[in-house]
């Protein structure tokens, strides 16, 4: 059935140390993220203040829980992050964290970030593994829980997930605009020309090309260099340099730090054991200690047959989806960056500079009167900015407007949108067919034929931008 060589990476028993450290660091960085989110006032700003939220198709039932509800949810997330970090009632903590975090993520498309999606996936995977069976308060509470060995899959699923993220992010960069035009780096780097030391270098076009190619090369290869022991330490240094650079140059939030900590999982068990010893020494100053040296009754953690089948099934489906989702764009006609059909959930990070301006015109069929909508009466500046470049959000807002006027007693309005969008430094052009009544168009995963083509022939991708 499964060859021995592969079996070893699935069911072979390995040290639990990397998994325990991964759990600890993930909990820690999530705690920092939740605190930062709250300290920036974003709970209010993003989930209490707006009047309208762009839900995901199929998840329209996900709504904010009101002011108190949202603060409590984030408080719960913070406590869950502590529970994950210390391994204290871990199963409960990680399950709550996964559900709460994903719920918040689904409230408003505006705030979609690949790194939030990544956090959702990692917390989902963490619910299946015994990451609290070592170096945790749970083991302290109940020493019979302690294990020193786990099947290899419990660690390797994280390496696989990280590898997929990097590889797809790299594959997405194999794109004419990225490689041949150095876009959007050519816009983003000069914008940082005021930075000390490297600032002046960022003004050169050649720098943008170097960054683009180095970035693509890094994403495509880094997972392999991390897997291979001889190159691992250098690869990890590159991880640190690369992500700190993105942190310095772009407004990318916690993502660099999440990646820097997560990729430690590629290191050996001995290395992680050292980390645990160091952390335990620090913990000796606390009123409790982890007593990692105490022996345990059962060394290995094993699932029963039914549990194995169930988890194997779930993880199998998960990774098949992970492989297919980033490729789904191929099913849609047109230019992916333009239509954004199949853009999300595909690890397409920092690939385009897109900005737009959309004006909605409403026509009352009974009086034939026309008027324009003040988007800013309903949307925050950020929602408006995000909507302006994403056709599915434009459609959602048009449907929302139809409902709004229905409430005012104006039934069967016609809503059209005039949207101008600029992509990677090109001049803005209309994105949505301005003659189409959007209230008559269904939401969904079908191709939106009302999006105007980005260009007549794809050759334009290869033309140099305005010199």
């Amino acid at each position: 059935m499964i060859p021995e060589a592969i079996k070893k990476h699935i069911s072979g028993q390995v040290s639990i140390a990397p998994l325990a450290v991964f759990r600890f660091l993930f909990g820690f960085i999530m705690l920092v993220s939740v605190l930062r989110f709250a300290a920036n006032g974003w709970i209010y700003e993003l989930y209490v203040k707006p009047d309208y939220f762009f839900t995901f198709y199929g998840f329209d039932w996900v709504t904010p829980l009101g002011e108190t509800g949202m603060y409590l949810l984030f408080l719960g997330m913070g406590l869950a992050a502590i529970s994950i970090m210390l391994g204290y009632y871990y199963r409960l903590g990680i399950t709550f964290f996964f559900l709460a975090f994903t719920y918040v993520e689904l409230i408003d498309k505006t705030n979609y970030l690949n790194h939030y999606y990544f956090v959702s996936i990692i917390s989902f995977l963490l619910t299946f593994v015994p990451a609290n069976r070592y170096f945790s308060l749970d083991v302290l509470r109940n020493p019979s829980l302690k294990r020193e060995k786990v099947p290899a899959w419990t660690i390797n699923i994280f390496k696989l997930q990280l590898g997929l993220v990097y590889f797809f992010a790299g594959a997405a960069k194999l794109h004419p605009d990225w490689l041949l035009n150095a876009m959007p780096m050519r816009i983003w780097l000069p914008a940082n020309a005021d930075l000390p030391i490297i600032g002046s270098l960022l003004e050169y076009t050649s720098t943008a090309y170097i960054f683009s190619w180095a970035g693509a090369l890094y994403d495509l290869t880094i997972a392999f260099f991390l897997l291979w022991k001889p190159t691992r330490i250098f690869a990890y240094l590159t991880v640190i340099i690369f992500h700190l650079m993105t942190y310095a140059l772009f407004q990318i939030g916690m993502f660099p730090f999440i990646m820097i900590l997560s990729t430690l999982i590629f290191f050996s068990a001995d290395f992680h054991q050292k980390i645990i010893i160091t952390l335990s020494k620090l913990a000796n100053h606390l009123p409790f200690n982890f007593r990692t040296s105490s022996s345990c009754r059962k060394e290995e953690w094993k699932l029963n047959k039914n549990g194995t089948t169930l988890i194997a099934g779930i993880l199998g489906i998960h990774f098949i989806l992970q492989l297919l989702l980033p490729l789904r764009f191929a099913l849609y006609p047109g230019n992916l960056f333009w239509t954004e059909q199949g853009y999300r959930f595909s690890w397409r990070v920092m690939l385009m500079e897109k900005a737009g301006h959309t004006t909605f015109t409403v026509t009352n069929p009974k009086t034939n009167k026309q008027w324009q909508v003040q988007n800013y009466n309903y949307l925050t500046p950020n929602q408006e900015k995000m909507m302006a470049t994403q056709p599915d959000m434009i459609l959602q807002f048009a449907h929302f407007l139809e409902e709004e006027y229905q409430k005012q007693g104006i039934t069967d309005v016609k809503v059209t949108a005039e949207s101008y969008v600029t992509l990677n430094g090109r001049r803005s052009q209309p994105m949505v067919n301005p003659n189409i009544n959007l209230t008559k168009k269904e939401r969904g995963f079908a191709h939106k034929e009302w999006i105007l083509p980005f260009n007549e022939n794809q050759q334009n991708w290869f033309r140099n931008l305005q010199e």
Partner: protein, 366 residues
């Protein structure tokens, strides 16, 4: 294990060698001095706008004091003139609602219109109001003065009577003076916050730390405030809303900026000229030069052309604008359409090329 390190080092080395060689051998660099552009904005456009507003309001207050001691049509006319000067000066300040102006709520305090005449009359009669409260914003500021000096009577003689023989004359005069004091305190506060001698916001605005394009940067704040002003308070506030663009096509002439004074179009032209000045940087470095340095000269030209076309359409409007809207609103709608095209070019194309961020939130590049 040396053989395995070699590829790593050669890749990293290559990276730095190429990066450094480009510095000695310039290929194509933007080489634009953003700090010099900001200095031009801060010292030659923004700060003078606040200082001019401050002196205009000082003259307004002097004229009001003279009117208080000598209630004649002559002094009333003088007061009306100084009000107009203040309102014109305001047009140059209004695009800069960030930093000090934002923290004192300058726009909402000084220029919330249409003004609520019933509330003003009620305040005058009862004497029970708080000029500075948020709920009183539509009964205070420049639009309230517009009503108090132009709208409380059909002719200047009738207006004068409201301050002399009317039973509420003294209350009305008190309200007028208190409103001017309120305007002055707000303007003084915002101006001194900007000045080096006061809060030295200009120092922060021109500091190296804020010379970037990220959210808290000076350019980021300036452009965001600029675009928002243009869209909401010039295009919509001064033109679109009165012409009925936002009210299901029904015109609302009463909502023009200086309804009682009748010089709404003149104010809109002044405001638009400031919008243009912010784009060109006046006689010195501005956003258009920045675009040119970023190889987007044709975009700069197109914005300039569109600005010129809009200005021509705007200058063709007649005051009183409310009357123009009632008689023939088509030219007003034309101005709105022209202004709309500037929005797209500035809000989408320009900010994108300049790499301006509009939000504090994390972002992984769409």
């Amino acid at each position: 294990m040396l053989q395995h390190k070699t590829p790593y080092f050669s890749i990293l080395l290559l990276f730095f060698v190429v990066a450094c060689s480009s510095s000695t051998n310039p290929d194509e660099t933007t080489n634009f001095d953003r700090a010099a552009m900001l200095e031009n904005y801060g010292n030659n456009i923004i700060l003078p706008a606040f200082e001019d507003m401050q002196s205009a309001v000082n003259e307004l207050q002097t004229a009001a004091d003279n009117f208080k001691t000598e209630r004649t049509t002559g002094q009333l006319e003088n007061l009306q003139t100084t009000l107009k000067q203040s309102r014109l000066a305001w047009q140059n300040v209004s695009p800069f609602q960030f930093g000090p102006a934002e923290s004192v709520l300058l726009r909402a305090s000084l220029n919330t219109y249409p003004t609520d005449t019933d509330k003003i009359s009620e305040n005058i009669e009862s004497g029970d109001y708080s000029m500075e409260s948020i709920s009183n914003q539509d009964a205070a500021g420049l639009p309230a003065l517009d009503y108090l000096l132009h709208g409380v009577g059909g002719t200047n003689e009738e207006i004068l009577a409201a301050y002399t023989t009317d039973p509420n004359a003294q209350n009305r005069l008190d309200y007028l003076l208190e409103n001017i004091n309120y305007i002055k305190s707000k303007v003084d506060k915002a101006t001194s916050e900007w000045q080096t001698s006061g809060g030295d916001y200009i120092g922060m605005f021109l500091s190296e730390d804020n010379a970037g394009t990220d959210v808290g940067s000076s350019l980021g704040m300036l452009i965001n405030s600029y675009v928002m002003h243009y869209e909401r308070f010039l295009r919509d506030g001064k033109i679109g809303i009165p012409a009925g663009v936002r009210s299901a096509g029904t015109p609302r002439p009463v909502t023009v900026e200086a309804y009682y004074g009748g010089y709404s179009a003149e104010l809109a032209v002044a405001n638009f000229e400031q919008v243009e000045r912010i784009f060109t940087g006046g006689n010195s470095r501005g956003l258009d030069d920045n675009l040119e340095a970023l190889n987007a000269g044709d975009l700069a030209d197109e914005i300039q052309t569109q600005i010129d076309e809009t200005k021509t359409a705007l200058e063709a409007l007649n005051d009183p604008l409310s009357q123009q809207i009632e008689e023939n609103k088509d030219p007003v709608l034309t101005v709105f359409e022209e202004m709309q095209q500037v929005v797209t070019l500035v809000k989408a194309d320009m900010t994108s090329i300049l790499g301006i961020t509009i939000t504090y939130q994390d972002n992984d590049g769409d």
